[in-house]
Symmetry: C2
Subunit: 329 residues, 2 copies
């Protein structure tokens, strides 16, 4: 409606964002109604979309460059989980009165840095004003050879369950920040803090697992919930031992001090690691992917007939984990 | 963050939206991290994104089915302006506490009806909660044969300017609703009200103008602003006579009663008609497209060297129109 149109402001946005799209020929300089993407022969497109809302997924005073980078990386993690290589993205930026030129400049700087680092082209988008909360949606596109996209629903009974990197770092950092750990401060755990601050999508690992991973998901809702998604969609059960979960040195030190935080590792979320299933015969190929990429990959359990994801605790009994997890509707 | 996750609610959303995606094989039943789209040989993808915010682009008590349909149609209008055929879409649904099951059911019904009518597949999306305003972003994808997408920036001097349908209907309806017309009520103008209530994207006309339109845009910001975009990006001026603008019978009757409302026709917005340029030799081909589709197409002026879009009023002098218009950054 006419009263909400602020052309000067939108010109300012164009000034910060248009240069990021200049390298993408299909973006048409962001002056058109739409962008154009030329298909690659023999490849199909993978499409994903993630929304981040101020006060929900990040805090209003979080550094804008980090907000932008988290938005890009959360989407890249979804592409990696399908085995896709990054192609391009469209940004829906819904701004309040609070985001001034300095905010936009910092946001664009963070966005540009990550688009460059991960090879994702900014193809277009839309900017709108809101009386509510700052809202960011990114639609990301990736390429996979036809028929090779890795789904969640295709795990098989008897297959091994693997996970990249380490689990629980971000959730443990959040527990420290929120004072839920006995007498320990986030300042003592710089690695955990960094893991919480900025996701590290496994973009180099995901595409290399095509033809190896039988099912894959990224761990964003927490191991219990995301393994649950594989179980539910594949019609199987999963058995995992907590003792097998890969932990960082800082996570291990914190758990030694406060065993109750094991819950945060098993169900905490924001790991952005890749969780996948594979046939037992493929263990050596998985070791080779870990070697090539420098990203550790650990076997944490196995799929079997039945339903539900069970994580056995250090006492040998199934951990009781509350139901969590967004659902991509 | 864990506190904002409401699995039960998101299950409910899945119940309403998943069936809409069931027909799209690439949507993978909306259970995966991402959707898959198989390219069509010789075709390229056109991508567009539009955001609608409650209290800005629609009112909180607007019927949810109409909100959904407007969202779809605004995006379809962008695809049509590129000459593209609808392919698929991804929905970012950012909900407040106010949208209950009845709201979601009605929203999904409206969405489903328009996806069906216009042949747009729901490929995926994301749902999030917000403490702010209900926010909807749709990323729409369309197909065009390689190299035939119609841009804004490619108009030529000496070319004619054309527009589909009629202009000003939605803006005049808004003027009536807001009491800006002398003593006339919206109830007297059912056609104008319908044009305001629900955009009618020119999806059948757009693709037929490939190879005819040299530049094209959809009139969403108003004739003056959108013709201005063609001028600016093409490095040309436009000369249009108000007397040549196609008006509906109701618009003409209202203007006869209140000539000051001419401003709403020239600069009002929300027309969702196609505005394009073409070589004078192509007038007969354009008449044939109008005949085939049943959508009137009127010649309203010409492009020439210079800059700026000038609309001459009924008094023969250039109309003074305030700068308006969103910019898709």
């Amino acid at each position: 409606m006419a009263g909400t149109r602020r052309p000067g402001e939108f010109e300012a946005i164009a000034r910060w964002l248009a240069p990021l799209a200049a390298k993408a020929p299909g973006a048409l300089g962001l002056v058109d109604d739409a962008a154009v993407l030329l298909p690659r022969p023999g490849q199909e497109l993978v499409l994903t979309l993630d929304t981040m809302v101020s006060g929900v997924h990040f805090l209003a005073d979080d550094p804008p460059d980090l907000v932008a980078r988290k938005l890009v990386r959360v989407n890249l993690s979804d592409l990696a989980a399908m085995g896709a290589e990054p192609a391009g993205c469209l940004l829906a930026l819904t701004l309040t009165e609070a985001e001034d030129a300095a905010w936009l400049e910092a946001f664009a700087a963070g966005l540009g840095a990550d688009l460059e680092e991960f090879g994702l082209a900014l193809l277009g988008g839309d900017t709108a004003a809101t009386p509510g909360a700052l809202t960011l949606s990114l639609t990301a596109l990736g390429w996979v050879p036809e028929g090779t996209a890795i789904r969640r629903s295709t795990a098989g009974a008897g297959e091994d369950i693997w996970v990249t990197g380490t689990l629980g770092d971000a959730a443990l950092a959040l527990a420290l920040i929120e004072g839920r750990s006995a007498g320990r401060a986030i300042g003592e755990f710089p690695f955990l803090r960094e893991r919480y601050r900025l996701p590290r999508p496994r973009s180099t690992v995901g595409p290399r697992l095509r033809g190896i991973a039988t099912a894959m998901i990224d761990v964003s809702d927490g191991l219990a919930a995301d393994l649950g998604h594989i179980c539910e969609t594949s019609g199987l059960a999963a058995a995992v031992a907590f003792v097998a979960l890969p932990l960082s040195g800082e996570a291990r030190a914190l758990l030694d001090a406060d065993a109750a935080l094991a819950h945060a590792v098993a169900a905490g979320g924001d790991d952005y690691e890749l969780l996948f299933t594979a046939k037992p015969d493929d263990a050596a190929r998985i070791a080779a992917v870990a070697e090539e990429t420098g990203v550790p990959i650990a076997r944490i359990g196995a799929m079997r007939a039945g339903s539900g994801a069970e994580i056995r605790g250090l006492d040998g009994r199934p951990m009781t984990l509350e139901a969590t997890g967004w659902r991509h509707f």
